[in-house]
Structure formats: structure tokens, C-alpha cells
Symmetry: C2
Subunit: 546 residues, 2 copies
């Protein structure tokens, strides 16, 4: 028997109209490169998104059509988020930091009909145009007058497109499972794969992310989207924060430490999201300039593990709480958050810190597990590690145009390797493909990296598996020393002594000038394997002769 409650669909247009109705005068601030900060509010967002919707409709955009963006975080991008999705079209946020061939692949695979781009990408767009036949229109995010200075003279402008359009739109009552957004993951191997978000998943994720034990987003917050809007929809914040009525702040292109500090202080930012690299830059700036945040009270950090030094600096030196989150493009992305339980109050500071460095517990709505190589469930004892799996209403079921990627058992295999402890705290120990398989057992490359990075003379380190005739793979450390350091490989290895099982001891250390990073700032292990995978380990001779 079915209940008799209203079948109101969960739609992004409800967020847009709720924000405009309940928080009309709450501000939306966008930093620009060359003009004073742009200021609008939720009433304005609704009006302009409606104009976008009317313009797209006039251009013949239909439900299900893909409309792309190549843009930084700013008000026009936000208008496109809502204007495109709320008419039932799909807002495809393209990551401009990818290699050109990947961007071409993505746009062609998505069959985008229109691409909206920031003027800083005009050269990129000129390169893309001849290679992307599905795109009918390339429109730059600016006014007619901007074209001259930026060499975009041949393109139509967004502001011209909106001029004269009605700022009312009767949003369709879509099926809540209608696709709203598309974001490709820059898998380190193979072609990028598209995650197709739905209105339902985006709204449910907004509820979950805002909860008191997740990001606790409130109308008292000023939320800055630092994570790019082309990466997992800035972690869902452009949906969540308007639903809660927070004031919004968008940084544009500049997210160096100084720019962030100024932005936060000028606009009273209380909450912001971003990868560790961003926060490292921020903390370095605070330290070197001798300034302190006065309004920021917490940051959401994810994308890669939060280093403990960063956590300490933010929390202990600056009183900014770290919400350590794990997620991925496929998980909308908020999936686990590291937060203490009441019973932890009596624990020592270092116990609390160690736990906070784990990636945390599943937020209400999603379920996680770990599996061994044969897909058996592993115990949640904090020791067993295996493939991390997840399921829930904001987790991807399959990739766009890859129906074969859907699993019959209903779980998503994350590609991460993790432990889960008795209290449900998950800790990433590796990526499945980075785990080092030595003599049939797994060695966590990440654990070895973290230890190396804990050495005071190491600024960055990576550990990869290198072929070994006897053990299949053995760990190799590739590391960057701090300026002036004379550390030797033997000294670094000695540093591992007593901290790991004997058979985890890396077989060699290479010091290099820098490590390769991908578009989203992550270490490129594939590249490292390309460069150093054939390195001949000193232990091979041993194995031969020994």
C-alpha cells in the first residue's frame, strides 16, 4: 500500500525558487580579475537564471541537451548551473585544466550543443572549435565590450544573449530523476568517464551535506566555493548553500593564499571548501604575513588526504575547524566526514587528531564497506584493508554512455583501498591501482608516503611499486628534499625503521627536483610509473645473488 503524501519532485528549481523567495536579499559576491567585486543576491540569481533559461529555449535547447561551461567560480557560472538544469537540460562542467585532447574527447563524448566560456579560455576555445563538431555555439561569459580586449571578437557574448529576455520562467515539473549535471572524472588511466547527476541526487546531497554533523550549512553562514565549479560541482555547494540561504562568495580565478585571505576577510566568509594544496597556500600566507582569519570558522578539506601539519596549523594556530571529507566525482561528492563522537571527548589530543586524519564515517544516507580481492566483505577492525565500496541515492550507478559500467550488485567500487575501524571511521590506505603487490600481499603506498613526508627534510614524496623478479613488486620512494637538505637515501630508509613491518621497507629512494601533478593538483602516479617503473632496484641484485 502506498502512502498518501504529495509527490512533489526533488528539483533544483525548488532550490532556486526557495532561495529567491526566502532569502531574496542575501548576497552573492563574485571576485573578478579586473573589476570590483560583482554583487547580486538570490532574487537576482532567480531573475538571471530565468533569462538564461529563456535564452536557451530561444536557441532551441531541449530537455536532455548538454550545455557546457568552461569557467571559474562566479555568478555567471552559477546562473548557468540553474538556468541550464532547471529547464531539464544538462549542465556539463568541463575542467579547463585537463589536456586539450581530454577536453576534446569530453565535449565530443557529451555532444555538447553550446559551450559557455570565460574569457581567459579564448585561446583554448579557438583550439577546441575545429575539433568539436557537435558544438553549435561558443559563447563567452562577458559583455560585448569585453571582446575587444580579450580577442573574442568573433564570439557572441553572454550578456548580449540575455539582453531583453524575460526574467520570468515557468520551471517545468520534471521527473526528479532527470539528469541535471555532467562531470567527467579525469581517471589517471583510460578516457575520462562522465558522471550524470540527477535533480534528486543533487537535492538529497544538499540535505545531507548541510546536516549538523556534516558541513552544518546555515543561513548564518557565508560560504565560499573554493573548490572549482568544474570539479564535482564544487562539491555540491552551489546547490546546498542556496538551499540553506547562506551568503555566497566565489573567488574567480585566483585561489592563492593571499587572495583567499583577502576575500574571506572582506566578505566575512565562515565556511569554505578546497583541496589540501589550497589550504597549504592559505596557511603559508597567514604565517608569512602574520595575519589571522577573523570570520572563517571551518573548512571542508578533501580530494586527497589532509596532512596532519595542515590540520594542526588550521585548528591549533588559527582556530579553524577542519572537516576532513572523503568523496569523489561519482559520490556527488560528500560521502564520509571525520567528526568526533561524544565518547571521544575524554581522549587525548593526539588520539583525537589521529582519528580526524582518517577520512571519517559515512554521512546519513550512504553506506560503505570494504572487500577483499574475491569480493568478500572484510571486517571493520581498523586493520583489514580492501576495496572501498559505497552505495546510496547520490552515488553514481554507471557512467554516461557506458551501461556496461553498472554493477548488478548495486555497489559502486571506488578504486580506493581503505580500512574501516570498529567505530566506522574509514581510512584510505591507497588507490587500488597504486597498492604495491609484494609476494601476494598488499603494501600501502600512501602509508609509506606519509611516513616519508613526516621526515622534516622531505617536502613531498611518492611511493610506487617497481617490478621485482622475486616479489612481483617492491616499493620505491621518489621524493623531493627541502631546499638545502643533504639527506641521503640511507638516512630516509633508517627513518622508516621501527615504524613499519620489515617487509614493507622500501627497496630504494630516488631524490628528484619535483613530482608530476595532474590537472586537479593530484600526484600523477601513472606518470611516475612511466618515469621510474623500470628503475632497477638494488635489491634485485640481492635477489639474484642472494
Amino acid at each position: 500500500m502506498l502512502g498518501l503524501m504529495m509527490q512533489t519532485p526533488l528539483l533544483l528549481s525548488s532550490i532556486l525558487t526557495h532561495a529567491a523567495r526566502s532569502f531574496p536579499d542575501v548576497e552573492i559576491i563574485s571576485r573578478t580579475l579586473d573589476r570590483p567585486d560583482h554583487v547580486t543576491n538570490y532574487a537576482g540569481l532567480l531573475r538571471r537564471s530565468s533569462q538564461v533559461a529563456n535564452a536557451l529555449t530561444a536557441l532551441g535547447v531541449k530537455q536532455g541537451d548538454r550545455v557546457a561551461t568552461l569557467a571559474w567560480n562566479g555568478y555567471r557560472h552559477l546562473e548557468l548551473y540553474y538556468g541550464i538544469s532547471c529547464i531539464g537540460a544538462v549542465c556539463h562542467t568541463v575542467n579547463p585544466r585537463l589536456f586539450v585532447e581530454q577536453i576534446v574527447y569530453i565535449i565530443n563524448h557529451a555532444e555538447d550543443r553550446i559551450v559557455f566560456f570565460d574569457l581567459s579560455f579564448v585561446d583554448l576555445v579557438k583550439t577546441l572549435m575545429p575539433k568539436c563538431p557537435s558544438v553549435e555555439k561558443w559563447i563567452y561569459l562577458g559583455e560585448a565590450a569585453d571582446a575587444k580586449t580579450a580577442g573574442a571578437g568573433d564570439f557572441p557574448s553572454y550578456e548580449e544573449l540575455l539582453t531583453g529576455r524575460s526574467d520570468l520562467y515557468a520551471w517545468p515539473l520534471l521527473d526528479e530523476n532527470t539528469a541535471c549535471g555532467l562531470c567527467y572524472t579525469s581517471g589517471t588511466t583510460g578516457n575520462p568517464k562522465g558522471v550524470l547527476y540527477a535533480h534528486r541526487s543533487a537535492v538529497l546531497h544538499s540535505f545531507a551535506a548541510a546536516l549538523p554533523d556534516a558541513c552544518r550549512i546555515s543561513l548564518n553562514d557565508t560560504v565560499a566555493f573554493i573548490s572549482p565549479m568544474f570539479h564535482a560541482m564544487s562539491w555540491g555547494m552551489p546547490y546546498c548553500a542556496p538551499a540553506m540561504g547562506s551568503k555566497l562568495v566565489m573567488p574567480g580565478q585566483k585561489v592563492d593564499g593571499e587572495s583567499l585571505h583577502r576575500l574571506f576577510e572582506e566578505h566575512g566568509v565562515t565556511f569554505a571548501n578546497g583541496v589540501p594544496t589550497v589550504w597549504l597556500g592559505y596557511v603559508q600566507y597567514l604565517q608569512s604575513a602574520g595575519v589571522r582569519p577573523t570570520t572563517l570558522n571551518r573548512v571542508l578539506i578533501g580530494g586527497t588526504a589532509c596532512p596532519s601539519s595542515l590540520m594542526e596549523a588550521l585548528q591549533d594556530d588559527y582556530g579553524v575547524e577542519v572537516l576532513h571529507v572523503w568523496g569523489m566525482t561519482e559520490t556527488s561528492p560528500v560521502a564520509t566526514i571525520s567528526k568526533a563522537l561524544p565518547k571521544h571527548k575524554t581522549q587525548s589530543k593526539s588520539e583525537r587528531r589521529d582519528r580526524q586524519l582518517k577520512q571519517g564515517r559515512a554521512v546519513f544516507g550512504v553506506e560503505i564497506g570494504i572487500r577483499d580481492g574475491d569480493n568478500n566483505e572484510l571486517p571493520h577492525d581498523g586493520k583489514a584493508f580492501g576495496d572501498l565500496v559505497i552505495r546510496g541515492p547520490w552515488i553514481a550507478r554507471s557512467y554516461y554512455k557506458m551501461p556496461e559500467s553498472e554493477r548488478a550488485d548495486g555497489w559502486f567500487f571506488t578504486g580506493d583501498v581503505a580500512t574501516i575501524d570498529e567505530e566506522g571511521y574509514m581510512q584510505i590506505t591507497d588507490r587500488s591501482k597504486d597498492v604495491i603487490k609484494s609476494g601476494g600481499e598488499w603494501i600501502s603506498s600512501i602509508e609509506l608516503e606519509n611516513l616519508a613526508m613526516a621526515h622534516p627534510e622531505i617536502s613531498e614524496a611518492a611511493v610506487i611499486g617497481v617490478k621485482h623478479p622475486k616479489w612481483d613488486e617492491r616499493p620505491l620512494v621518489v621524493a623531493v628534499r627541502r631546499k638545502g637538505s643533504k639527506l641521503t637515501p640511507a638516512e630516509l630508509l633508517a627513518f622508516y625503521d621501527g615504524k613499519i613491518a620489515k617487509w614493507w621497507m622500501p627497496d630504494d629512494v630516488l631524490f628528484v627536483d619535483e613530482l608530476p601533478h595532474g590537472a586537479t593538483g593530484k600526484l600523477l602516479k601513472t606518470k611516475l610509473r612511466e618515469l621510474y617503473g623500470d628503475h632497477v632496484l638494488p635489491t634485485i641484485e640481492h635477489a639474484k645473488t642472494g
Copy 2:
């Protein structure tokens, strides 16, 4: 085009299993009349609810069957909530405070197959049994040994029913729109009407109620359900609080001020819900005993308007924040909450207090409006008042077995009359049927009542419309004076002078010893109209002679 996210249904079994997995050792405390407090935890709740599910299945209960409860707030009631609903049956919470004929009507209308009852209702059950032919089994919530003392010897006991049952159950993957709960509203006229909640609506309501700007329910909270579990599912808290991992406290039968204070202090309660009457008793106890709450930090107050003296006592004297909420059985019930906006920070205390006394703004997910007699939308200017309408995914679409109650326009007409101000704060000014229709215009009976109650010598007051040959209806005040008061009708009327429009001035005042109240403590206006509707107003003679 549909998105490619998982179609995980929103089910109460996900709340139950999430709580058991993520918060296994978080306590659930139940006060009993004659035994020490009962203590279990979420792992225990899952085990016992699974036993309930196995027992019901063994009794032949199928999806869609109605299984009723006649019970106070306690662990067994909570086990039934989950055990019944999670197998796809419907948990029908019967309000034992209704008149016997109403209870009979409700059980027969619902066609309940089983009724679980607390031992304090054994006499009531004996009265009901011969009149409720659909009920196959009446089972008391106790152990075999309880029967003797309580005169329930002829009935099977709940504990016997569970003994030996497996504490594992493979919860079915139901359609999320499956009915989970049934609660009848004791309308003051006509037969009670059944609201049939769905798993989807209950889960969405849990998300919304827990949000930082709603009840901000967290794993750091100890939540006491004071509002009865037979009244709008204790305002959804038995679903919301376990989802968030709060510690739970249930008061059993006793909710007088002293019992509440002890309960809260013994178990560290931080949050509790209840009608104003309950909080008045609580505050009176605190005052007379000269004690203070040490852990309670906020209370959710609704059901009727929160009196300003109560709000002041709780907030100013005891530092307990009042979350003034409006809702009804049909709205799951949390719909609006009165919370200040950041821009109100600079306002005076009395401005803030006045606003807090309004019923508040729509929580994210629901939409409200006001309509005039011709169903036209009225402006949100804080002055226009009309029928309050609402819609959203946790609002009732129609009543059980009353398909004709579904409206084509998709709105639910609440039966309340309200204003909505420019900032979205809604204020109930009356019930539609209590509004006094004088000369084609509406007079708010509640406003006149509040004014009367603001008089220092009045302890309670009601205002009803009384027939008038010229004006159709005119207001009559029926009031109870404080002990020892010699206040005259003329003096009370003089007190209105200057506070209301001239034509709102009541035509007469009657002082009585007490006013009639219904089962849930609300003033019975129907009864009042029955008693005093034919009162001959002194102004009628005027009308005739004048």
C-alpha cells in the same frame, strides 16, 4: 534524459540500520512507571525491531496491513515503529486520549489487524474489543508476569511474542512511497481523518527537521520525545533522531514539570519537543523548586502558539532557546520554524521577541501561501490574512480512504488563517472555522484572545463568533479570571480600547469557571460554540432599536 545515479529508495529501514551500524552503543532510555529506567541502544533497537518483524510475519501480517499501537513513549513503542513499518506494514498510532467512540471509529476505519497496548490501557481495551471486529489480536506491551498485577491475564504479552524469535531480518527493498504510518487527526468536527505517511516523506522530513536552521539534531544531542508518539509520530523525532545518531530519552506516561526536570537532568537531555502546556508545567516546576536545567539547550514548541511569557521564561531565565514551530499531523509535522535572520541581529530585544512569537518561515522543502475566500493569492505583507496553504514532499495529499479529499491544484488547505510578512514569517491568526465573519469582513478570534490573556487578571480566554442579525457574527469573550479577581466585563472591554480596530471590539464578555479542552489539550471551540453560541448579545437590542 534521466541521470545515472543509484535508485536507492528512501526507507525507514535505512534509518534503523544506519543507526545500528554507525551508533550501535548510543543509548535509548525509557522511563517506566514502576521499574528503573530501561536502557538499550541502537544495536539493541535493530535486534528487537527485527524480532518484532519476525513475529509479525509469523502472525501473517503482510505489506499494507495496519498494526496499531495504544502506547506512551517508550522503547517497545519505538521497536514497533520500526518493526511494523520496515516490513511494509503500516504502524497506526492510536491516540488513547480520544473519546472511546472516536477510538472505535479509528480502529474500524483503519481495519487494524493487531493492536499493541500499554498495560495502563487494559480497561480501555476491554471496552474496545467487542466493538472492533477487524482486530485479531490484542497484545499488551509487557512480560507474562505483568499480566497478573494489571488485570491483563487474558491477553498475550509482547515479550512472549518476541521470545525465541530471530533478531535478524532481511528488510525488503520497498518502493519508497510505501505507507509506513497512519495517524488520525482529531478534527473538532466530523470524524477523525487518517494521514497516511510514506517512507519517503518520513525520511525527507528527517533530513529537513535535522538541518541547522530547523532543529539542528546531531550526534551530540540527547533528544527527549515529550510530544506523544501517537501524535504526528512525536513530530517525526523517532525517525529523525536515530538517523542523526542522537541519544534518545522517552518519558513514558509522566510529563509533569517535576518528572521532566528529573528526566532531563538524569540523562543529560539537550533537546525536547512538546506543546506549550507541557513547557508551562516545566517552567512552573523550575520556578517553584528553584532549580535550573543544566543540559537542556533548546526546546521545540508547537501545537498551539507559544505564549510570550513562556518564551521569556525559558530563554531569559533559563537560557533554553525556544524553537517555535508550526505544523500539523498532515505536515509530518515540521513545516515552519521561527528563527532570526542575520540581519535581525541589530534589532531590539522586543522586536526579536515579537518575531519569534510568529510561527516562522517555511523550512527548505515546503512552500506556503495564503489565499482569500476566492482562492486568490494574498500578498506577503504581514497584514493580509487568509487561508494558509502548503505543499511539499512531506505534506498529505489526501486522507486515508477519502480520495475526494485530494485537491487538483496540488496544495493542502491547512484550515489555519495566517499572515505572511515580507520576510516570509508566517503568523497564525486563527483557525478558518473560528474566524469571526462580521459584515463580510474577518475578525481574528485568536488576536482577541491573546489580548484578553494579556490582561493581568485573566488566566484563560476564548473568543467565539455569536449570531448577530445585522452583522451575521460578532465576537464574544468567554474568560476565566485569576483567583480572587473582581474584574468586570466593562473593564476587560476597556482594556481592548486603542489596541484593535473599533469594529473588532467584542460585543460581550462572559466570565466562567473553566474552559473546555480536548484530548490533546487544545481549547474546544466547538464545545464553546455549543455552550455559548446562542448567547444573546447586548448589542442585538441596540441593533433592533438603534
